[in-house]
């Protein structure tokens, strides 16, 4: 289905899918991952973070009696909602409207930005605060707001840090995970007016950020947050945070805008709690995050504070294309980040190498689907298929299989190099022809037994393998098949003689 009803004139045009503004750099995964491996500071930050997440998650899961049944319930909720997505989205829109809010539909990130700019312009907004929103990252919203002369401040500590550093997030729940404490201190000294104050511990850094952010919260004309879930039968947006910044962003300014993607909707609060039960445990190893807030429209007459305008912008950005496709499972993702934390490749190279908003295994599926496979053809290959992402995913998303399907598509669409295609096709043809295959393996064994020929192989064919590894020596006089057949012949002739 396609959520129809565009509510702003911008949404009626149908511009090309792929956002120019989202600065997709996924094409450079290979080069960027090599750089990342050589960046000692980054490596230090990654090592420290990874172990912590893995341990905390496993402890949180051990603490509950039956995490598998939690997972099952959460998956049931998502399966059901995706089967009736149009119904629940419509119900959500009806209830938001009933509560006095507005729902806008954006097919593309550009449309989302235009709707927000339109609201800001109408309200003559000079300053915007933002809670963490991955959807606004998809749209590169900050750049669009800044271009319109609006002062934007990220209020999630991690997002605040990377905004100062002018970097994109490198993790979906811990955006500044790639930064060490020392780097953050240096950044604050560079950008804040600090004088001689000590900033050599984490608490001091947090205090400093809080001090800077307080005035921003009070001054903001518009507050923009994401949403972890949209509750259809109450018309509410649910936001979970550990810093409470989401609440200040949503309640202090006169306008609250929620940016969310269409698959975030769930039927009711009961369903939302099924997902909450697995979300924080999988993400940070907490039973629940410090704040779980529901925003259900502008402030009423009786309310002492709260915004006087409430908007929810629902972004599609290719998601409706995933519905009913082999990639539908990806819409069950609740953005917990567990697959990133447990991925050996992510842990080795960090998030920036992936080049777009979503890194790690989930990003390697989402980025090609949202920005085009051609622009991100390295990503589906950046997996050893170790299967750990699927194992830890609370929503049971078969990430390796989805990556494999993208590889199929790359092969079909001729996005792989001719060399790769030629050797794989040759190999697969060879194994369908046992005689040829056994002749080749025999020959290869002889090549590998000859040091001159092995050197040629090393220098010209298997260069990337030999860059850090040897091939083991075969100590037998032939391949297994040769040896086995020889042995059987000898046995037979012995039996004949005796």
């Amino acid at each position: 289905m396609k959520p129809g009803k565009p509510t702003s004139p911008e949404t009626q045009s149908n511009p090309p899918i792929h956002s120019e503004t989202s600065s997709n750099q996924a094409l450079f995964f290979k080069a960027k991952s090599s750089e990342a491996l050589l960046d000692d500071t980054l490596q230090q930050a990654l090592k420290k973070a990874q172990g912590g997440f893995i341990e905390k998650r496993s402890q949180a899961i051990a603490d509950v009696e039956n995490f598998d049944s939690y997972k099952q319930q959460a998956q049931l909720v998502k399966n059901h909602t995706l089967d009736h997505l149009a119904y629940y989205l419509t119900q959500f829109e009806e209830n938001v409207t009933k509560n006095g809010g507005h729902v806008h539909w954006a097919s593309t990130p550009e449309q989302l930005n235009n709707i927000i700019l339109h609201i800001c312009e109408r309200r003559d907004a000079k300053s915007v605060t933002k809670g963490k929103s991955m959807i606004s990252e998809e749209a590169n919203l900050n750049a669009a707001l800044e271009a319109a002369g609006i002062d934007v401040t990220e209020t999630d500590l991690g997002e605040y840090i990377i905004q100062l550093a002018k970097e994109p997030p490198s993790h979906i729940i811990v955006p500044a995970i790639h930064k060490t404490r020392q780097q953050v201190e240096a950044l604050f000294r560079e950008t804040h007016d600090l004088g001689e104050r000590d900033l050599d511990n984490i608490a001091a850094l947090v205090d400093e950020a809080r001090l800077q952010l307080r005035q921003k919260f009070l001054d903001a004309d518009v507050g923009i947050t994401g949403a972890n879930m949209l509750i259809a039968d109450t018309g509410s947006a649910m936001v979970v945070t550990n810093e409470g910044n989401g609440d200040l962003t949503a309640t202090l300014p006169k306008v609250h805008i929620v940016t969310a993607s269409i698959e975030k909707v769930v039927p009711d609060l009961e369903s939302a709690s099924a997902i909450l039960r697995v979300l924080a445990r999988s993400a940070t190893g907490q039973p629940i995050t410090s704040y779980t807030s529901l925003f259900s429209g502008p402030s009423g007459i009786e309310d002492l504070d709260g915004p006087d305008e409430f908007h929810v912008i629902l972004l599609d950005n290719q998601r409706s294309q995933m519905l009913g496709s082999p990639f539908e499972d990806m819409l069950k993702c609740i953005k917990c980040g567990a697959c990133l934390n447990h991925c050996p490749v992510y842990s080795a190279v960090g998030g920036h190498a992936y080049g777009w908003v979503y890194p790690g295994p989930m990003g390697s599926v989402l980025t090609p689907l949202m920005t085009g496979l051609k622009q991100s053809s390295d990503l589906p290959n950046a997996s050893t298929f170790c299967g750990r992402c699927e194992e830890v995913c609370p929503m049971g998303i078969p990430l390796p299989e989805l990556l494999r399907q993208l590889r199929n598509k790359e092969h079909e669409d001729h996005l792989t190099s001719w060399k790769t295609r030629f050797s794989l096709k040759g190999f697969m043809w060879g194994i369908q022809h046992p005689r040829v295959f056994h002749w080749i393996t025999k020959t290869l064994r002889m090549i590998l037994a000859n040091s001159v020929l092995t050197r040629l192989l090393e220098k010209h064919v298997l260069t990337s393998w030999y860059s850090s590894k040897e091939l083991p020596k075969n100590y037998s006089k032939g391949t297994f098949m040769e040896q086995y057949q020889q042995d059987s012949k000898q046995k037979k002739s012995k039996q004949k003689k005796s």
Partner: protein, 267 residues
Amino acid sequence: MKSVPNTPQSTTPKVALFVTCLVNQFRPNVGFAAITLLEHAGCDVIVPKAQTCCGQPGYNNGLRNAAIETAKSTIKLLEPYDYVVLPSGSCTGMLSKHYPALLSDDIAWKRRADSLSSKTWELCQFLVECLDSTLPTHSNLEGKTISYQDSCSCKRELNNTSAPRQLINQLCNGSNLVELKDPESCCGFGGTFSVKYPDISERLVSDKTQDITATGADILVSADLGCLINIAGYTSRAEPVPFEVRHIAEILANNLETPSMTSGSKK
């Protein structure tokens, strides 16, 4: 010995050994060690001549149709036997999990794939869980410390972590089995991954090597030759080579004449 399911009690089970293309090419003694173990366990071992490779390289790199053809011919080849045993978790997973998935659109073939799946076993798991056989022990590794690396496929696809450990403890008298600090993480092989992203692969195998070295192990074993080629390939270049690398079938069958996988490569 426990009775072998689906097989008349009186006959010995006919077991097809699928040696895998890596064993065939690089480490034939693993195949012979597997035969020894299976024969000790009372099996009639047959090595079907027309076997090649399970098709994983194509399957994992986008050549789905070619993988379907390989699945069909492999099923045809292996159908006549009571069991199919492989000295590799990854190739076992390919036959038992991925063939049925590949052929799920074709009812007749799906049925044949399912039936192959139900009789396909990784070597250690077959010896322990299917046959529960009593095998000869040996003392050639007395006093040696052995580290067992779970391959990701054994661990996650086959749920096969206890059988190999149990066999090492039972058959290698006087040896000491030690665990890695991080047994969950991948060694960085990933088939073609290791050649597509050699530097990431190198980082992962270097982390793994550090972990193994820290256990003080004399020998590293695993049930998958892919992981072993990766780890041995990397550690061969270290001075001194930190530990021996062998397939688990070699140490279980007391097939230790062949030098470690780390030796013999030029520096």
